[in-house]
């Protein structure tokens, strides 16, 4: 152990040393996401901006791919972070984990360079193998898909084998089973077909069954660990809640997949099945809020790590509003007929991804930085606490401003373009030129700048928080393992 407040790898166990590598790349990619989001947003206001150089499609692809990858890196880092604590033994194949980390990172760099410099290819299978697959979120070319599968398999091996060697806690068991499903689903998105209905059918297996089933359960596991760590909540309570959440989430989310099968050529029975089960999806999200807030209240908000707890509470609410409320609002087919594929969807996508997933990774960044600095004090009256408080405030203010701008644009679009205009070329641009739409895009950009400012502050805070603290972290008596 080195001196308090000094960043030192000696403070970390093996898995955690690997975790902070993943976290560092995650933060850099988060920055890239914000940058390309801003560029794409500017193009809505000024279509000639970077036209023919970095077209909207390129910026958008980088924006959402950076998001998927930084969140995955954040999740992998978080799992490596808790792995030795939870299992009680050192990570089984740490050298493999390290090797894979470098391969994975290098592959991401190559993919990004190809997106930026080559952008598009001829209409041949070769382009799909080497340049991009042109399928939203999973644009990564086929060679990278295979690389990702190999990396994830190695990661999975490390997690499963470490738990198997040490102890299989409830959290560990759920995590391992969930990772199998998460990795397996990726395979559903790797095949080419000329049939666009078939294409979208399997594409949604990846997208929906990731974000509304397996990722939700993964963050449920992280939340469980986070609550034990920051507040010393009893394991039995946390694990019982986790099982309840799994039952409710999978029970609604798996068949909730049907809310994407209304309009892509799939049969009409999905109206009923998709509408019904997806309408139930907010229930587990309510349960998670109740759980987190109840535990926080029960422990009188006394935590060993205030920024992490704040982000955990933000996760519970963000998940509930972004996924639960915003998702529910357009999930019934009678409404989705008009909101489908409008800025409405973008409004929901932003609030849900940020609220449910970005928040959870950020909470883990704070948990990690505390131990990395030797278990430094991070509770009330922390030196320089304004930074984390302003960061969380600005990020939320920016996000809410964006989401509201998009929502108003989406309402206008669903009325003018979809319901009245019939969604043709002219109707589309009539809606895009409408004053409410233009104002929505303007405010989205304002929100984007606020969000970017929040991101800069967050990055700065992560580099400096606890640096000038001399007090050790608070201890909670009930915690199983000390911080």
């Amino acid at each position: 152990m080195s001196a308090l407040g000094i960043l030192s790898n000696a403070n970390l166990n093996g898995g955690q040393k690997l975790a902070v590598k993943y976290f560092s790349v995650a933060v850099a990619l988060f920055g890239a996401q914000v940058l390309f989001g801003l560029l794409a947003g500017i193009q809505y206001l000024n279509p000639d901006f970077l036209f023919g150089i970095l077209d909207f499609s390129v910026n958008r692809m980088l924006h959402i791919n950076a998001m998927v990858v930084w969140l995955l890196f954040g999740f992998i880092g978080s799992v490596y972070w808790l792995l030795e604590d939870e299992s009680g033994v050192p990570v089984v194949g740490l050298w493999l984990g390290n090797l894979i980390f470098w391969i994975f990172t290098l592959a991401v760099v190559v993919v990004v360079l190809v997106y930026l410099l080559i952008q598009v290819g001829p209409g041949e299978l070769k382009s799909i193998w080497l340049i991009n697959e042109g399928r939203e979120y999973i644009e990564a070319p086929r060679w990278a898909d295979i690389g990702i599968v190999v990396c994830v398999l190695a990661f999975f091996y490390n997690v499963a084998a470490t738990f198997a060697k040490g102890r299989f806690t409830g959290v560990g068991g759920v995590l391992v089973l969930d990772l199998i499903a998460l990795a397996g689903l990726y395979l559903a998105g790797m095949w080419y077909t000329p049939n666009i209905s078939m294409d979208q059918h399997w594409w949604w297996w990846v997208i929906h069954l990731w974000v509304e089933a397996t990722w939700e359960v993964l963050v449920g596991c992280l939340m469980a660990y986070g609550l034990i760590k920051t507040m010393g909540v009893r394991r039995k309570i946390v694990e019982t809640w986790l099982y309840i959440e799994v039952a409710l989430m999978f029970g609604s989310g798996i068949l909730g997949l049907g809310h994407h099968y209304f309009w892509i050529g799939t049969p009409e029975y999905w109206f009923t099945i998709g509408g019904f089960f997806s309408a139930l999806e907010p229930i587990p999200l309510v349960a998670m809020v109740v759980h987190a807030v109840f535990d926080a209240g029960h422990h009188k908000l006394k935590s060993t790590n205030n920024p992490a707890l704040a982000w955990i509470i933000a996760q519970a609410f963000g998940n509930f509003f972004g996924a639960g409320v915003w998702g529910f609002m357009h999930t019934l087919p009678q409404i989705n007929l008009y909101t489908h594929g409008t800025q409405w969807t973008a409004s929901h996508g932003h609030l849900a991804f940020f609220g449910a997933y970005a928040t959870m990774v950020i909470a883990f960044l704070y948990i990690a930085i505390q131990r990395w600095r030797g278990g430094v004090y991070m509770s009330g009256n922390l030196v320089g606490a304004w930074k984390w408080k302003w960061a969380i405030f600005l990020l939320h203010l920016g996000m809410i401003t964006m989401v509201m701008g998009l929502l108003i644009a989406g309402y206008e679009q669903s009325q003018i373009e979809r319901a009245i205009g019939g969604s043709d070329w002219v109707a589309y641009f009539t809606a895009q030129a409408h004053r409410w739409f233009v104002q929505g895009m303007f405010w989205r950009q304002v929100g984007g700048w606020l969000f970017a400012a929040g991101f800069v502050l967050l990055a700065w805070d992560l580099m400096t928080i606890g640096k000038r603290e001399t007090r050790p972290a608070l201890q909670h008596p009930a915690a199983e393992t000390g911080a």
């Binding site: 279509p47 023919g52 209409g123 019982t240 039952a247 309009w263 319901a419 030129a433």
Partner: protein, 215 residues
């Protein structure tokens, strides 16, 4: 342990989680088999690729209470009747082009994708192409060189994506085929381009010519 409430015990909820997940998954697999069968190209909902040899329309169906694609008389794309295999090759080339050129990071297809440019589900039927006589050629020309063809007041142009003539024609074939997919009435209220044959007077009500056109 003895006075523990059964409904608050971890083991009860663990078992529930396993059963609920297993059950939902089995139901999903069962439905997936049926759905995949119904969306395989060549089925009533998703026609065979050779449908591009025929007229495709989008008309209101009283029974289902929304618009459905209607396959009409022979009207081969680019005036060339193709065999099933030739049509499949052409549409396949078009689909590959849409992926390699990243259309879905500006447009939506079947309503999925990006929101920066119009939905392409029924772009084959878009009235803005003018008349059905010039449509095919206009589409090819537009795809190959869209930058100087601005059609809107917000100044948003489609960039030149280096699409060759062969790719453009294949993409048009793909778009025509996509317009024949039964999307349960999405997009609603879409008014397709007039495709009536020249001597007949154009019918304002699409419902009126639905019946005779059905093969």
């Amino acid at each position: 342990m003895a006075q523990e409430l059964w409904w608050a015990s971890p083991s009860f909820w663990r078992k529930t989680a396993i059963w609920v997940t297993g059950f939902s998954f089995v139901v999903l697999i069962f439905l997936t088999f049926d759905t995949v069968k119904q969306i395989t190209a060549g089925s009533p909902r998703v026609p065979a690729y050779s449908v591009i040899n025929q007229r495709i329309d989008y008309v209101f169906d009283e029974k289902r209470n929304f618009q459905v694609p209607v396959v009409g008389p022979e009207e081969p794309l680019f005036g060339q009747k193709l065999s099933e295999a030739e049509a499949a090759t052409l549409v396949n080339h078009g689909k590959l082009t849409t992926q390699a050129k990243n259309c879905m990071n500006c447009h939506t297809l079947l309503g999925n994708g990006s929101y920066y440019a119009p939905d392409l589900t029924k772009s084959w039927l878009d009235p803005s192409w003018g008349s059905k006589e010039v449509r095919e050629q206009s589409m090819v020309e537009f795809l190959m060189d869209p930058t100087d063809k601005l059609h809107n007041a917000v100044g948003r142009r489609m960039p030149n994506l280096g699409i060759t003539e062969a790719e453009a024609r294949a993409t048009v074939a793909f778009l025509k085929w996509m317009a024949s997919i039964d999307t349960n009435g999405f997009p609603a209220n879409f008014k397709p381009i007039d495709q009536a044959d020249a001597p007949e007077p154009a019918t304002a009500e699409p419902v009126a010519d639905a019946a005779p056109v059905q093969q």
